[in-house]
């Protein structure tokens, strides 16, 4: 039992690092091998995660609409997503005539790559992080807005009016919702005084920001969740995809594996956004601590940090999924009204409140 507690992700990573450094003469080669291992580990984590999220989404949707969801393939339908993936692998990767073939094939890659880039500064467990840069939050907000390029590329190169309309909508949507996401991230940066992800997590040792920051941080958490739901193009903000109006929006023309990559990107984005919300507002891998209850805090410390991180992330993922199956979709003008008339002014005032709170030291 004691041994089991000693093994953590950071010790595994540290062990691999020491082994590589001591056994491989060339420093560059060791670094390259380390990067390859990290990339493969990330893929091995993300692809099964997308299976889990796909299954979870369909089950959540089913239960919220008073039906079962998938329940035929495998126990409780758990192999349904595997069956769907095999089907997508078998399908022909069609490139329509008249499309810009290079951009058309490049777009899904760009979408997946951008959403995987955002994962780099996320702390999965204690001392277990791919890249702890000192501008973590800035990096996240900068890279996550790049995803729209892939979507625009897909819509533009498809040679299809629905795809183009979807892509244009996506552009308008990301440009506007980026602001609210940025402002709500800034409120945590103000309180922490650092853009570094590990500093932000460490600052929540005595309590998560959502509890310590009173109402303003709660408001910015809500705004972050709403705006990032819009940023990752999920219903009720799925205007870029818009099954109801634009068949499938920007990925109308895609089939087979290229389509599957858009799906993969959607779920990775969902995970990334939830992970960032969990890191900034819910304490990342930090266990749940209550003030001076030493015994309680000590018991909480025994739960592995990766488990804390994943459970918080899945909590936010569940909320975003519940949004999808509860709220009605917005029209384009309603979407922009919500951002420019409600979310942006509120988050601006909220930023001032947070700043005053941070200067006066009113938070716990």
């Amino acid at each position: 039992m004691n041994l089991l507690l000693m093994v953590s992700f950071s010790s595994i990573a540290g062990g691999i690092h020491h082994w590589l450094v001591s056994n491989i003469a060339s420093e560059l080669l060791a670094k390259v091998i380390e990067m390859v291992i990290a990339g493969v580990a990330l893929l091995l984590f993300l692809v099964p995660l997308c299976f889990v999220l796909g299954y979870m989404e369909r089950k959540v949707a089913g239960f919220m609409q008073m039906r079962y969801g998938p329940n035929r393939v495998g126990p409780y339908g758990s192999l349904q997503i595997v069956a769907d993936t095999v089907k997508l692998l078998m399908k022909e990767g069609l490139t329509p005539t008249g499309s810009d073939k290079f951009l058309f094939n490049l777009a899904p890659v760009i979408v997946v790559v951008t959403c995987m880039l955002v994962i780099a500064p996320i702390a999965f467990a204690k001392d277990f992080q791919l890249w702890d840069i000192n501008i973590g939050v800035l990096y996240v907000s900068a890279i996550s807005s790049l995803a729209v390029i892939g979507i625009l590329m897909a819509g533009w190169s498809s040679y299809n009016k629905y795809s183009l309309l979807g892509a244009m909508r996506s552009g308008a949507q990301i440009v506007s919702y980026e602001l609210s996401v940025g402002l709500s991230l800034i409120s945590i940066v103000i309180l922490t005084g650092s853009l570094k992800m590990s500093d932000i997590v460490m600052s929540q040792e005595t309590g998560w920001w959502i509890f310590r920051g009173h109402l303003p941080v709660l408001i910015s958490f809500v705004i972050f969740v709403i705006a990032s739901t819009a940023e990752i193009n999920r219903a009720p903000f799925d205007l870029a995809e818009a099954e109801q109006e634009l068949t499938a929006g920007f990925h109308t023309e895609y089939a087979g594996m290229k389509f599957a990559m858009f799906l993969l990107a959607e779920y990775i984005n969902l995970f990334v956004v939830s992970a960032i919300a969990a890191t900034l507002f819910l304490g990342g891998w930090m266990p749940f601590h209550i003030g001076h209850w030493e015994a309680f805090n000590h018991i909480m410390d025994y739960v592995p940090s990766s488990l804390w991180f994943l459970s918080k992330t899945f909590f936010v993922i569940f909320i975003i999924m519940q949004f999808r199956w509860t709220f009605p979709r917005l029209r384009v003008d309603q979407l922009l009204t919500l951002e420019w008339k409600y979310l942006l002014p509120i988050s601006m005032v909220n930023t001032i409140l947070v700043t005053v709170m941070a200067i006066m030291g009113w938070h716990f």
Binding site: F63, M64, M66, R67, Y68, Q322, W325, Y342, I346
Partner: protein
């Protein structure tokens, strides 16, 4: 004035969204009780259809193999697409008079849209909508049905 209106909108919006989330959250947490799905081929033994479900036109017969159809052909006239064909005969009564009665009540299920107009047109409640719905067959001819059972006759007192 503007600000109060603004905050009222925000409050109303947030409140209605929370009510929606409460509803779906209830469905999610009480899934076992709330799920309405009928797992049809599996639950065939226990499946019960609703009273108002219209599966096919049937003619109920009682224990003495008697039906209530007088052969008035009101249903045949009411039917919008010629689903019902009634072949009548003249039956000799004990008192020597002749009376109209049905020989065969032909019902073409393949033409029927289950609009219920024949049932409402019937003056003597002889036909009813049945609950059975598994009608698929390989040959169209099997869908032509004779509703009155062989050897059946009209019930006493139905005119």
């Amino acid at each position: 004035m503007f600000l109060t209106e603004y905050f009222r909108t925000v409050y109303k919006g947030v409140r209605s969204l929370l009510i929606g989330m409460k509803t779906t959250g209830y469905y999610f947490t009480h899934a076992r009780k709330e799920i309405k799905t009928e797992e049809y081929p599996d639950n065939r033994a226990t499946l019960t259809m609703f009273d108002r479900f219209k599966g096919e036109v049937t003619m109920p017969h009682d224990d003495n193999n008697e039906h209530r159809c007088t052969g008035c052909q009101a249903c045949e006239i009411a039917c919008p697409n010629g689903t019902i064909k009634i072949i009548t005969k003249q039956e000799l009564q004990p008192d020597g008079k002749k009376k109209k009665a049905i020989d065969t009540f032909v019902y073409h299920l393949e033409l029927c849209t289950l609009c219920n107009m024949c049932v409402t047109a019937c003056p003597s409640d002889a036909i009813k909508m049945g609950q059975s719905f598994e009608h698929s067959v390989y040959d169209k001819k099997q869908l032509k049905k004779v509703l009155n059972k062989p050897g059946s006759k009209i019930m006493e007192g139905v005119e």
